[in-house]
């Protein structure tokens, strides 16, 4: 229990950021919820439409559902690359004795490059005319029949816009997981090895349970970032061709700022907020339950 003066000073330091958070985050969410019951183009009078926007979103808008399924695909690819890739690289790093820092820096580098630069970079990599790096490599290794315009093909474009986002943050999550792996008690691992545990058993029975809290946080971060993913798909393809790489976020942005349908865009933003909360709830529920089991 803190003495009175300390409690007061804690409150003084906590309230301003809390207020800022309320104004910058909670208020816009409440405003979006309010706007989602209206039809508004920004310059005419607002018209109360009740649940019409929600009914249209759930039952009458095929693009919305297309964008939703694309968002899930984008999420899966990002998570596999970011968490899977990060875990593998971090595990390999622990067994590396020299040059750790160079490897860490190299993996972290994409996270500090600006998004626009990454989008330009990948536009060149995926290009077919002029021939980009990816198609050139495929040609060199004798897989010329796989050459294609990766960003124009409706079957490859979603993966093509997800990979840069996944690649970009792999290094960041690798650093977090690597730090967690370093904290695993060495004597436990050694004892397990003496008892004849394989590398896989050491990983699943000792290392992973130990880093589970960090893993939960990292998964939440990666999932919410991926669900809010916007910039790279928007810059690379603007959701195209057709709606093949349209995400909920890019569709919402276009609805608000191109179609000036702020009411309907707010309905989608409410959906995205709920979707993120549900995802976080599911992650915590699943991973904690395993922990307790």
């Amino acid at each position: 229990m803190l003495p009175n003066r300390s409690r007061l000073s804690v409150l003084i330091f906590l309230v301003p950021p809390l207020l800022l958070y309320g104004v910058a985050v909670l208020l816009p969410i409440v405003q979006s919820l309010f706007l989602s019951f209206f039809s508004w183009d920004g310059i005419s009078d607002m018209e109360f439409v009740g649940l019409t926007n929600y009914i249209h979103m759930f039952t009458g808008d095929t693009v919305f559902w297309h964008a939703f399924s694309n968002s899930l695909g984008y999420l899966v690819i990002c998570l596999v690359l970011q968490l899977g890739g990060a875990l593998i690289v971090a595990s390999l790093l622990t067994s590396l004795r020299r040059g750790r820092n160079i490897v860490k820096t190299l993996y972290l580098l994409p996270a500090v490059i600006s998004t626009v630069a990454i989008a330009f970079l990948f536009q060149r990599i995926y290009s077919i005319d002029p021939v980009g790096l990816l198609n050139q490599i495929l040609g060199w290794v004798g897989l010329g029949n796989l050459e294609r315009a990766w960003l124009s093909d409706i079957n490859s474009v979603l993966a093509a816009v997800s990979i840069p986002e996944g690649w970009r943050f792999t290094g960041l999550y690798m650093l977090i997981i690597f730090a967690a792996l370093l904290s695993v008690p060495q004597e436990l691992e050694e004892a397990a090895r003496l008892d004849g545990a394989s590398r896989w058993q050491v990983f699943t029975k000792i290392r992973f349970p130990h880093i589970r809290p960090v893993w939960i946080t990292t998964t939440i971060m990666a999932t919410t970032y991926a669900l809010r993913g916007f910039d790279i798909p928007y810059l690379l393809t603007n959701g195209g061709p057709g709606q093949s790489s349209e995400l909920l976020t890019t569709y919402m942005y276009k609805t608000a700022f191109t179609s000036t349908n702020y009411g309907y865009a707010s309905t989608m933003s409410v959906f995205i907020v709920v979707e993120c909360l549900v995802a976080v709830g599911l992650i915590i529920f699943t991973l904690r339950r395993k922990d307790e089991a």
């Binding site: 208020l27 409706i154 191109t258 179609s259």
Partner: protein, 447 residues
């Protein structure tokens, strides 16, 4: 729990109040602006929110004119706030309009959104303004018509006059054994012949989407005239009408004949132009704003003597003439009625009187008829040919569809066009998707 409820209630009330404020700045009513306001001219800085290249002719010339005006009017300055990328610009301008924060001058096309602003009295009537300044009759009718809304009203002032041609490489056409097309319907067969000769038929900037949308406008403009899109956008005509079906079929054939470069949907503006100027692509559809790249010694000597252009071909039963095609006067400039005062009027009079001769001296076409364009010293003969062509433009204009349709239908059209030309959908699917999209969105946009 009580505390949480109370906090939520307060947040909701604040949100409601804020939303109410933003609404208050929105809906206005139409009002008549005094075109010649009385009072002293008090110099102050004014701003122009525009979507033009920062180093382009319009900004360069207007900067010089504004500096000249500022010499006699200390305290005056014209701030240029430019966003050349059109989609980004439209988002910026529409957001500022929603916040009631538009500056003294702003660029806009004759879109449904702009018409709403005009109806609300946000923009000064350009017919009245130009007439009052004694300049109306000096403008090319085609340049003014391009800026008009469907009801004939005029709220934007043009700063350019452009003609869009299909540029072609004579040597590549000869190599493939094809001649320039007499009809739009000849193009698919022409593409097949060019592809067989290993040549990319048409270079297209698919990334920006408006270039492909031009092709959607061409066929109906020839077979049904300029009123087709005016009716289509309101849902009074359909793509399932004969003109629309023929257009969808033609677009699909362009795709199946592989008219555009592989991966065109992710090719940008300069990459597409490079395909043509480097002699890889046989044709390229672009306007006279690229004369300095395509009709001067800046053009690669290897292709310079082979480059020529033809205007939009007609069709068998064309209702528009060969000299009628896309002849835009660029994005127009609107004058904000809420900030219009003696200073803005006086500056516009000064600037618009001086502008035509200054822009013509840069080698560009003026939106007026009272000046002659200066042909640059490094021009090829094509430059003069294109400039002369501007005096022989018919009265009907092929309007770009992206300035006509409501924004939601336009976005969907751009997406569906790519799928149609790539062969991912067929013409009937395309037609039915677009007709239902327009039926869903047009009523709200044109009410």
């Amino acid at each position: 729990m009580k505390k949480t409820l109370r906090t939520t209630a307060i947040a909701a009330v604040v949100a409601l109040a804020l939303a109410g404020c933003s609404n208050g700045s929105g809906g206005g009513t139409s009002q008549t602006t005094d075109i010649d306001p009385s009072g002293a001219i008090v110099p102050r800085p004014i701003s122009w929110l525009l979507s033009r290249p920062a180093d382009g002719g319009v900004i360069t010339v207007m900067k010089q004119i504004a500096d000249e005006y500022a010499k006699d009017h200390p305290g005056f300055a014209l701030n240029f706030i430019t966003t050349p990328d059109r989609p980004s610009y439209i988002q910026k301008y529409e957001t500022l309009a929603a916040a009631n924060k538009l500056p003294e001058l702003f660029d806009t096309d004759a879109t449904p959104f702009a018409q709403k602003l005009a109806k609300q009295g946000t923009m000064v009537d350009a017919t009245k303004l130009l007439t009052s300044l004694g300049l109306y009759d000096s403008y090319r009718p085609a340049a003014l018509n391009y800026q008009r809304f469907d009801d004939g009203s005029l709220y934007m002032i043009p700063f350019e006059f452009q003609l869009e041609f299909i540029w072609y490489n004579k040597a590549l056409l000869q190599k493939a054994g094809v001649a320039i097309p007499k009809s739009l319907d000849d193009i698919p067969a022409m593409c097949t012949a060019l592809r067989n000769a290993g040549i990319t038929p048409i270079a297209l900037d698919g990334q920006d989407q408006w270039p492909l949308e031009r092709y959607a406008a061409y066929h109906p403009f020839r077979t049904a005239g300029p009123t087709y899109v005016q009716n289509l956008k309101k849902g009074d005509a359909k793509l399932s009408d004969p003109a629309g079906l023929a257009a969808a079929d033609w677009l699909s054939k362009l795709g199946s004949s592989k008219c555009f470069e592989d991966g065109f949907s992710s090719t940008g503006y300069s990459d597409a132009q490079n395909l043509f100027t480097s002699g890889k692509a046989a044709m390229y559809n672009i306007g006279t704003w690229e004369l300095s790249s395509l009709a001067t010694d800046k053009l690669d000597p290897a292709v310079r003597s082979d480059v020529d252009y033809f205007t939009l071909p007609t069709t068998a039963n064309s209702v528009t003439d060969a000299n009628e095609y896309v002849s835009p006067s660029g994005i127009g400039m609107a004058v904000n009625a809420k900030t219009y005062d003696p200073l803005v009027r006086d500056f516009l009079k000064f600037a618009l009187t001086k502008y035509p001769s200054a822009i013509a001296a840069t080698g560009a076409l003026s939106p007026t008829t009272n000046v002659t364009t200066t042909i640059p010293a490094n021009a090829t003969p094509l430059y003069q040919k294109a400039v002369d062509q501007s005096n022989d433009v018919g009265s009907k204009i092929a309007m770009p569809w992206d300035t006509q349709l409501d924004p939601t239908s336009n976005t969907r059209l751009q997406q569906e066009l790519t799928l149609l030309v790539q062969g991912n959908t067929d013409p009937s699917e395309f037609v039915s998707t677009m007709d239902s999209t327009i039926a869903q969105n047009a009523p709200a946009a044109f009410k």
